[in-house]
């Protein structure tokens, strides 16, 4: 886990990492969130709807933005204060996802930064993009 302090963070500082989700993780997410929509948990239904397999929940793959902020950029001292999020393409279990985030704005007065982030597949296809508002605690 990174432990950046406010003074060490600069506009342009970036971090990248990879992740992959399984169908079991999607089942866990359905149980935790209560979103049991069959497109995400019923293979037969997903195939009948024209997809090769169940579509991973957008909010599950977007949990990687939470990891980006809480573990890496800035890490330990982060406060995730808001996020604007767009979904651009479906994701399926087993696909490798590449997460990228970069600090694009810092406001000294209340120690608030903004991180522009995106998730792409290995072929660079855009999965989602986000503007994340992040504060810091001591």
């Amino acid at each position: 886990m990174n432990e950046y302090r406010w003074e060490e963070l600069t506009v342009g500082l970036a971090y990248d990492f990879e992740a992959t989700f399984t169908e079991e993780m999607a089942q866990d997410f359905a149980r935790i969130s209560g979103d049991v929509n069959p497109l995400h948990v019923d293979r037969e239904y997903a195939v009948s709807a024209g997809f090769p397999s169940p579509v991973l929940f957008g909010m599950l793959t977007s949990s990687l933005y939470s990891k980006l902020v809480g573990v890496y950029l800035p890490g330990k001292y982060a406060l995730l204060e808001g996020i604007d999020l767009d979904f651009n393409a479906p994701v399926f279990a087993g696909e490798k996802l590449l997460v990228h985030g970069e600090i694009v704005f810092k406001s000294e007065s209340y120690r608030r930064m903004e991180i522009k982030a995106n998730i792409r597949k290995e072929d660079r296809k855009l999965v989602s993009k986000a503007l994340i508002r992040v504060g810091m605690h001591d």
């Binding site: 204060e81 808001g82 704005f105 406001s107 000294e108 007065s109 209340y110 608030r112 903004e114 508002r133 504060g135």
Partner: protein
């Protein structure tokens, strides 16, 4: 210098997700619903981004209402 109040009002409407919100120079955290500390940070950073100005924490702590904020913004914009 343009009248900043209508522009500020648009920022408020966006942050409070309320298209009907009316802001005056007398508006403050006690008479605008949902104006809490996090909304306040959102307002200040949105203004800093839009107008490319920077506030000091001391300056912000002296503000009593939107009118004070507009006056501070005018001062900052004139110094640019």
């Amino acid at each position: 210098m343009p009248d900043l109040l209508p522009e500020i009002q648009e920022i408020f409407r966006d942050i409070f997700d309320n298209d009907k919100l009316i802001i005056t120079r007398e508006s403050n955290a006690s008479n605008v619903e949902d104006w809490d500390s996090l909304a306040h940070v959102n307002l200040v950073t949105a203004i800093e981004k839009k107008y490319k100005i920077k506030f000091g924490l001391g300056e912000l702590q002296e503000l009593k209402n939107v009118g004070d904020m507009i006056d501070l913004m005018k001062k900052k914009l004139a110094e640019k």
